[in-house]
Amino acid sequence: MRLQRKRRLTIIAGLVALVAIAVGLTLYALRANIDLFFTPSQIAAGDAPHDRTMRLGGVVKDGSVQRDPDSLAVSFVVTDFAQDVPVRFDDILPDLFREGQGVVVIGTLGDDGDFAAQQVLAKHDENYMPPEVAEALKATNSLPEGAGNSAG
């Protein structure tokens, strides 16, 4: 009886291990497709497809946002602190969009290296804090990287 239980336990462990290996290999093979976005470095290395809809992810470079006063048109630079990609956009930005904020931009990469965006998503980081704390951190210039500023 005891031997039988041991055998069943081994079969179960084997089953779970086999399924895990199968799923693991599948995910490994598909790893490039599971990543939600390309980084500016990947684009600079030529890994990203041209003239096809794709996602670009990174941080909005400080001082790079330029708004057209007469329309919704806006241009900014997405950076991963190694490479930059200039982005053009002509629609409504999410509330969280600001310089220093992480964003995921959906659009197409032109041959000139400019990224024409169809949609801009703001990425939220894992940090939460009350406004007073953020103000205090900002005063001492120690707000975490990419956390943006509170003047939104």
Binding site: R5, R31, D125, P130, A147
Partner: protein, 250 residues
Amino acid sequence: MRGKQIGMWKFIHKLGSPKWCYQLCGRLQPAFWIAAAVLLAVGAVWSLAFSPPDYQMGDSYRIIYVHVPAAILAQSVFLAMTFASVVFLVWKIKLADMAASVMAPFGAAMTLLGLFSGAVWGIPTWGTWWTWDARLTSMLIQLFIYIGIIALRGAFARPEQGAKAVAVLTLVGVVNIPIIKYSVSWWNTLHQPATFTLTERPAMPESMWMPLLLMVLGFYCFFTALTLYRLRSEILKRESRTRWVREAVK
């Protein structure tokens, strides 16, 4: 030492007896209902009225007080079902299968709540309610696994027949749990990485995570109380032909 060990085995053996388990569940139930009510009431008022707003998202971040407990429970419930399935497959204890069967709908509900609350939060914060990133997609797959388990059990006329198939499907499904957990660190996702880890200080002040902790504990107590309640009904249903049940319901 040896006496203690025998005592523990005796307890486990007794736990396998439906009658004894039925009575134990009845005795434990009130404490968990009260704990759940107190924790959820205090946690809800604290998190909605007294915890500070976030510096970037304002008040919309408060959705985490539902989203995070729901997402944690969605995974914990599945781990509990997996444990019960292993016990059932190896030791052939019917009660373990009954426990797994009553837990599944709650887990599915929590997964749906996690997905829904995340979508509601995503609209103002991200600018979209859904994206096919690894965290969101793996959580959607988890919902399908839950639905598959519930449907597979429902496909059998008598619960005893489907038990083995359901247990095996649960073991297959558990592979998705680490994928959900680590999806945000393995791949680029829109979903942010974990705020709480075992090794580091939470990326959130105490005034924010204290009410969240109460909510998580409250969800766990609610889940436990509901499971005990539903397990009692399941025991009565499956053991309805035994003498002690007939006497108990008379």
